[in-house]
Amino acid sequence: MSDQSVKPIVEMKNIEKHFGNIIALAGVSFNINPGECHCLLGDNGAGKSTFIKTMSGVHKPTKGEIFFEGKPMSFNSPRDSMEAGIATVFQDLAMIPLMSVTRNFFMGREPTKGKGIFKRFDIDFANSVCMEEMRKMGINLRGPDQAVGTLSGGERQTVAIARAVYFGAKVLILDEPTSALGVRQTSNVLATIDKVRNQGIGVVFISHNVRHALAVGDRFTVLNRGKTLGTAQRGEITPEELQDMMAGGQQLASLEGSLGGTV
């Protein structure tokens, strides 16, 4: 398994989550170390989204334990987990197209100046931080008041990641960041993941695209029907094996023959 000298930032043990009579997660174990990109793979309906929602405080697990930096933790809301340092970039990005990049960047965590009733949103500081952080990620904004709606999908993804990093995320959860992107934008996002990982942040990269996962992943965990099928180190597993595990085995192997291995 992983290097024993590095302590995982978040460790989740035997997480179960039931919605009424539906068992969405039936015992999932997962951990994330600083400075690594841990890919969580699984087909549609495997429970990936439910799992990360328990990690980010949206859902409370029915059973199982969550350890944050070695201490048991229970998150009651996304705010709790955010404060602890777990940032989630959801598929819908939590971005508001009509609002400016700066306003989105600081949404929910606005810098303020002044005291009492004169406490106000420090817009100049916010604008300069936002421009600077975006430039670090390789995006030159037209201006801090540019609406997010005018950005491309990859750029929006980068804004969301830059925001999480700026606010001191120790763990960054990316929910299928590349699923709706073109080739160029995908490679931009993968490059951003690499930059973030090099800063010592643990990245949880959720995907159902094996090639995107293999491009940046250090470890790979496969979910199927609410259970972990196992975790593999980089280099220990081939794309074909990963693909088969995700699809739950044989069917795809026979399909792949007829498709010529293009899936």
Partner: protein, 368 residues
């Protein structure tokens, strides 16, 4: 820090012309509307309309509507509607009237009580919308009737059968708070100006305009406060975020539910403000007070650049929207046109404003 950001100019970005930057402001449409309406009346109306007394003549109804419209605009930016504000004016008016006349409470008690009462009703509205997940349109439509009905029934109980509660003026006579909510402000200044010949005066030397109606001052103050909150505070950012996409906002840690309930309370308090001012002005309250005002307030907010879908708009826009409204209502009496053109005019303005806002929004967001 600012220097670093500014020093990196991108060669692919052209300097944005001032006009394009202006185009991106939500209040532009309303401002353009004010200019157009002014030009229209400058040509068609009697010149008396644009004298000081003429301006105050149309600013007074504009102010009464504007206070409501600013509340409605903030709620609309937050992504919800309140169709019950008109009825809320009547209901808060009833409560205020009962406080002052029936219970004989001084203004220093009745005014805060009326605001607390209105905020409570607003909180009920908001909580039902949030808890049920129903569109606020339907919930507040129900309250439009409930509050109007309660106002009628309540008035009959309070007065023993009449739908009008009189005697407010006598009850507040000499109350130290009364000048803040009724009558004219700066009358001394206006007297002075008349003596100096700067403003028109009657033959006996008293000024034609005895002062600035206090509602106009409240109206301007509320517009400024609302604008400050929207653009320069964290809460303002939360309001835009809540209206833009409440799911995204709550995932980012914005207390969406609290923001929405608070906005419903603010809107109801704006209605209470209008109720207090108008009841004290006329000295009585009746069940038809605020009738249809909810639609007029929403129209003023939309003319002011608020999107029906939320997340975009401005309080200054609503301010100008209600100025347009006041100009049209009062302005037509200075012209040879039949006054009933007012409604046609209003509907047309609304339609133009919505089309305009839609185009602007596409520009801003780069939607294609």
């Amino acid at each position: 820090m600012g220097d670093i950001a500014q020093s990196v100019a991108d060669e692919r970005i052209k300097e944005e012309p001032f006009l394009t930057r202006l185009m991106k402001r939500p209040e532009l449409g309303a401002l353009a509307g004010v200019v157009l309406v002014t030009i229209f009346f400058a040509i068609t109306a009697d010149s008396a309309m644009f004298t000081l007394s003429g301006i105050l003549n149309f600013m007074t109804p504009a102010a009464q509507l504007g206070i409501l419209a600013i509340g409605a605009a903030m709620l609309m930016i937050g992504g919800e509607f309140d169709l019950s504000i008109g009825s809320m004016v009547a209901f808060a008016g009833l409560f205020f009237g009962v406080c002052v006349v029936t219970w004989g409470l001084p203004l220093i008690v009745s005014i805060p009580l009326t605001f607390i009462f209105a905020a409570g009703v607003g909180a009920i509205n908001g909580t039902i919308v949030i808890r049920s997940g129903l569109p606020s349109f339907i919930v507040t439509l129900a309250f439009l009737f409930i509050l109007r009905g309660l106002s009628l029934v309540g008035l009959k109980i309070a007065t023993g059968g009449s739908t009008q509660l009189r005697g407010v003026r006598d009850a507040i006579e000499g109350d130290p708070l009364a000048p803040f909510f009724s009558g004219d402000a700066f009358s001394g200044l206006f007297l002075k100006l008349a003596e100096l010949g700067i403003i028109d005066s009657f033959k006996n030397g008293s000024p034609k305009v005895s002062g600035l109606p206090v509602e106009i001052l409240w109206y301007i103050a509320i517009a400024l406060i609302a604008t400050y909150i929207l653009l320069r505070t964290s809460i303002g950012n939360w309001i835009f975020a809540t209206g833009g996409d409440s799911n995204a906002a709550s995932n980012s840690g914005v207390p969406v539910k609290k923001v929405k309930v608070a906005l419903f309370m603010v809107t109801a308090c704006c209605a209470a403000m209008v109720a207090i001012i108008t009841v004290m002005d006329t000295g009585s309250t009746d069940s038809r007070r605020g009738f249809m005002k909810e639609f007029e307030a929403i129209i003023a907010a939309v003319i002011g650049g608020c999107l029906l879908t939320g997340g975009y708009g401005s309080a200054i826009g609503a301010f100008f929207g209600s100025v347009i409204f006041g100009m049209v209502v009062i302005g037509l009496t200075y012209t040879d046109f039949d006054q009933d053109w007012f409604q046609v005019f209003l509907g047309a303005m609304l339609l133009i404003a919505v089309l305009f806002n839609n185009a602007i929004r596409k520009r801003v967001t780069g939607e294609r």
